[in-house]
Amino acid sequence: MRSLRQAPVLLEVRNLNTDFLTPGEAPAHALADINFTLREGEVLGIVGESGCGKTTLMLSLMRLLPANGRITSGKVNFMNTDLLSLSEREMGDVRWKNVAMIFQGAMNALNPVHTVGRQIAEAIIQHNYITDQKLVTDRVVELLELVGIGAERKDQYPHQYSGGMRQRAMIAMALACNPQVVIADEPTTALDVMIQAQILELLAKLRDKLGLSILFVTHDLGVVAEMCDTVLVMYGGVTAEYADVDTIFNTPQHPYTQELLRAFPDLTRPTEKLVSIPGYPPRLNALPPGCRFAPRCPHVFERCHGERPSLHPLNGRHFASCHLVESESTISPETSKFPGKSGEK
């Protein structure tokens, strides 16, 4: 695995809180005290089920929340500037030039009435990255070739592209102004496995070639294991566990991470029984008073129902929010997904 500990920190998120307001209802706490650090060249996986706040987190970072969303506290430091303190105009300069986004659902994110080349050019011109029209066209061609699309297809419309090519075009668009950080929100979810493999290969290549840092939002643990250096597991708007990828998959400490791994099909162990997590994720406007995972947790005890666990450091780079971890009676290894596998390569 690549060592990233010396790489400079690009993005630092501290105690980020986001609420959604609905008239006549209590605010929904969509994000509570999210913390993470993203270094240059790092791929950080943000994993969780639908409704856990992954997309809200991404939109908060980009400050693109819908009108009823509010960031109530916290800091988003990008190279020593707090993005939350910038004016809307200054933020507009950061978007795409420093932090760009690959949106979910490539099928619908492109405008059907403009050519793909024109849409990429628009991203370049809109952010004043290049103004000379001739140079813009050169840049569009360069970007398309970077993502593996022949330059001759720049004048085609999105419907003439296949699903995988549209996703490539979306990636080209995100790279238009040469950003340092790319936020990829479920970039391969709607694609077939073979196309998914092509896109993942492309993202890994771009990371190496351009030194990109990637925030990779997904619900697919397999993709996380293949792609990411570090992983943040979210549940009901909070961080359940945050560690490097090997720790998350081989010595997870939070019961949610452990259960999620047991519920995830693994081709290399087809004879094992899949275990589902009973119950359903909490609704954000009716959160349980204690730990948000308590109603579904197999190791739940008295304290979990009354008191919310804080994110507890297990060592310098492994954090979990669980009372069991705090009390240091670490959860028995039988429940972990890879018992006795730690010695293997």
Binding site: A225, D246, F249, F264, L267, L274, S276
Partner: protein, 327 residues
């Protein structure tokens, strides 16, 4: 599995969709080869997984089995009887025994009907339970078999009150209420969260055990298949390229397409990051099929003769079939 008569047998099934001519002068008639010469059997109480990428024809195959599409050629046998061209009452009876579970539980339930009415509807359509009391009893039974217990909690609720997993259970209950012999499950878990998927897969597996239902499980995800299918059939461009028992296919894949597909399945263990065989490009257009073996343009081990002759379907090892010159 067993030597008795299979519940479904498909022989040389072919389904072509005509393509609209683009100009007035287009002489040649063109077809999309959605299902092209497919043969297989589904045994009693068996789970057969049909795996392939989008556009490989797996859903068309399911629709043809349900007689929702008329096959262009070939035959379908249900319990030994030829049901390829049934119509009217006989068709309706046959359909009662083969039920479908659709992919999207958010869109396949009528939002204005209660759960009880949704599950009772098939009984009304098939005129199976004439009085209310009997109907209710069967609906309760189906809901509880689908894991919605106690059924009285759900009967009078509407789909929007239920979670995705519960909705998919309602869809399954709606299929079970007719006491079918075969379930055609078209991507039944792909819309659900990971933590919920396992319970739906386990439910389908238990139905096979308690009711002896055969399941044709259509999916693009080899990972979920591994857990409960008895056999796997891999489809590529309208044709089955490999078929065998689950473990045999997963551990000793024969066809290069299966090998590539297995190699790119993400494995949830960073210590097992491995060499992947990534096929470049996309599946060719099913209108103009490649000559010879239809996989040759993307095949990593293709030889010159692969461009000339279509490989025959052979039993390479006992009960493990593949169509490839190079195995």
């Amino acid at each position: 599995m067993n030597q008795q008569q299979p519940i479904i047998e498909v022989k040389n099934l072919r389904k072509l969709f005509p393509v609209q001519k683009t100009t007035l002068w287009d002489k040649e008639e063109k077809f999309v080869h959605a299902v092209d010469d497919v043969s297989f059997v589904l045994h009693h109480g068996e789970v057969l997984a049909l795996v392939g990428e989008s556009g490989c024809g797996k859903s068309t195959l399911a629709l043809t089995l349900m007689n929702l599409e008329t096959p262009t050629e070939g035959q379908i046998f249900f319990e030994g009887k030829d049901v390829t061209h049934l119509s009217g009452k006989a068709l309706q009876t046959m359909r009662r025994h083969i039920q479908m579970v659709f992919q999207d539980p958010y869109e396949s339930l009528n939002p204005t009907m209660t759960i009880g009415d949704i599950v009772a509807e098939p009984l009304v359509v098939h005129r199976l339970a004439p009085n209310q009391q009997e109907r209710d009893a069967r609906v309760v039974q189906a809901l509880e078999d689908a894991g919605l217990k106690p059924a009285s909690n759900f009967m009078h609720r509407y789909p929007h009150e239920l979670s995705g997993g519960q909705r998919q259970r309602v869809v399954i209950a709606g299929a079970l209420v007719l006491e079918p012999k075969v379930l055609l499950a078209d991507e039944p878990v792909s819309m659900l969260d990971v933590s919920i998927r396992a319970e739906i897969l386990n439910l389908l597996a238990s139905l096979r055990e308690t009711r002896g239902i055969s399941v044709l499980f259509i999916t693009h995800d080899l990972g979920t298949v591994a857990y409960f299918a008895d056999r796997i059939a891999v489809m590529y461009l309208g044709r089955i390229v490999e078929l065998g028992e689950t473990l045999a296919v997963l551990e000793r894949p024969l066809h290069p397409y299966t090998k590539a597909l297995l190699s790119v399945m993400p494995v949830p263990n960073p210590r097992l990051r491995r060499e992947r065989i990534i096929l470049q490009g996309e599946t060719p257009n099913p209108i103009n099929l490649p000559r010879g073996c239809r996989f040759h343009p993307r095949c990593p081990v293709a030889q010159p003769h692969c461009q000339e002759t279509d490989p025959a379907w052979r039993e390479i090892e006992p009960r493990h079939f593949a169509a490839c010159h190079e195995v």
